[in-house]
Subunit: 316 residues, 2 copies
């Protein structure tokens, strides 16, 4: 048995989590086969993580496995899709059993948590690079896009921001405090907001997941929708750990740091008012869409206009 | 505009070749959206190419663009699928305009030739690595698999083998002869056998594309189908260029060299006899499936038993 047959053994168990028979044929043939239920669209996205660029050198393989699948699956959440399966294109300098065991374990935990099964992949030798493509489905024509925001819509986020960005300062901490640990777990174990994304299908006018920071990602919505917005920085939800540890920098982190993988959505006020209470309770209104282009931030020590971010390495 | 926005401009034109409206939403949102026609299954495969492993350092970007998409699309041919769209996960050390123009041009030619549109992707900085995932569709339940070969079936191939493997000797030729050029074009511009794959849906009992060499890939069919086969090496089709340039090594190359991307299929004799003449004419019978496991090769200077190949870097 070759080195790469061995690798496949680590990942084969991940093929078992297929949702309701939608994965007709999993790994091992020239292609995988997925059956999309009648009346639903296939929704898919690919994300690449490169060592030293998207995650630190010597990053724990267990964290990496979870993070890689969570980050990709977050794009399904942003479309309101239900996850089905994923492919893994894994390029490795060497097949190191300890690393493979950790990575496949992190991946397996995420696969099970999100209900997404391994459908296939490709294993090659080279510098450590992980490309994950996730597949989900959504009712035909109802995928949440970036382009539907309308003047008057509220801008909402699904949870506290800035934690993952702040955690970067503690990645090397040998014995993190409980508060540092709270931030670190946001970085190591992002939670794609799948349930909220699905609950907002047919309700939200646009959606995006926050991977580059609220300002940058909201700007993507505004650009795609050809509108502007006013954002009240004082309303952006902050965790207690972030406020305690970062003080005056907390708001800046919440606006500009990425990796939190909450959703940013726009939604008409009357639609927001009609949402189930349990969905409504998890949305925080942080601003409002306007006809005039541009993103105006208030409530952060005076108004500030923001424009332009260079989104290096974003998926399209 | 950032460096990677620029890159996207090179690839944006490739999003235009969508088949019959099946690509509902292309690049630019969190996910792409594909609508699978009623009664059809989604078929997909990912392939990674790493510089220095799967293609030579300093390989022409134009060839690379074609090759990358052709190699991936060949997996759709092997399932009998009709191509629809693909994603591109491109990792680059630097955004060099000359390279990008060549690569996107090669990719565009293949995209147009195979009728497969760019649906999305991810562009990241790092060592040159290309992961392409191709999507196609096939009538529900009829995707050609590796696992259906039955004792008595003929083993057939769709064209001459060994050319691409022989071409490796001439990659550095400054002024290749016409015969060398004939082999080189098989290596640089592989032609996935999409029409034949589709014509064999519901007819062939199993199929695989020949990327690792006939012996290795036929063995995959035998393993998946739990059968054996006898292969007549004297019947394997050889191009005139291969015979002229490689003499006695031609048969060995045809049996063992990869990269030709012809199909190897198994098909019951009575089904083969009933095929349209134009399909039948493109199949060459090279052997027959037997109940006893193992692959026995005859007609190559005495019988030889073959077993076991380590398929480094094959997609699953």
């Amino acid at each position: 048995m070759g080195e790469f047959e061995l690798i496949r053994q680590y990942f084969q168990p991940l093929a078992g989590n297929a949702r309701k028979g939608q994965l007709v044929l999993g790994p091992g043939d020239d292609c995988a086969v997925q059956r999309v239920p009648p009346g639903r669209d296939l929704v898919f996205s690919v994300d690449t993580l490169v060592e030293g660029v998207h995650f630190p050198l010597q990053y724990s393989p267990d964290y990496l496995g979870w993070r890689a699948l969570a980050v990709a699956t977050s794009d399904l959440a942003a479309m309101g899709a239900e996850p089905v399966c994923f492919t893994l294109a894994l390029t490795l300098p060497v097949a190191e059993p300890g690393w493979l065991a950790g990575f496949s374990e992190g991946l397996a935990k995420a696969s099970s948590a999100f209900g997404i099964a391994l459908a296939g992949g490709d294993t090659t030798r080279g510098p450590l690079t992980i490309s994950l493509q996730v597949h989900g489905t959504v009712v035909q024509g109802l995928a949440l896009r970036r382009s539907g925001a309308k003047p008057g819509d509220f801008v909402c986020v699904t949870g506290p921001l800035g934690d993952a960005g702040a955690a970067l300062d503690y990645l090397d901490a040998r014995k993190p405090t409980p508060m540092q640990q709270a931030l670190l777990s946001r970085y190591h174990y992002p939670q794609p907001r799948l349930d909220l994304g699905q609950a907002l299908v047919g309700k939200a006018s646009s959606a995006i997941d926050i991977s580059d920071g609220l300002l940058a990602d909201l700007q993507h919505i505004l650009d795609a929708s050809n509108v502007g917005a006013e954002l009240d920085a004082a309303k952006v939800p902050l965790s207690e750990a972030l406020v305690q540890l970062k003080g005056r920098d907390a708001v800046t982190l919440a606006l500009s740091a990425g990796d939190d993988y909450e959703l940013c959505v726009t939604i008409a006020p009357q639609v927001l008012a009609g949402l189930d209470q349990q969905v409504r309770d998890r949305l925080t209104i942080v601003g409002q869409v306007h006809r005039e282009p541009g993103l105006r931030v208030v409530g952060a020590g005076g108004g500030m206009e923001t424009r332009g971010f260079d989104h290096f390495g974003r998926s399209a």
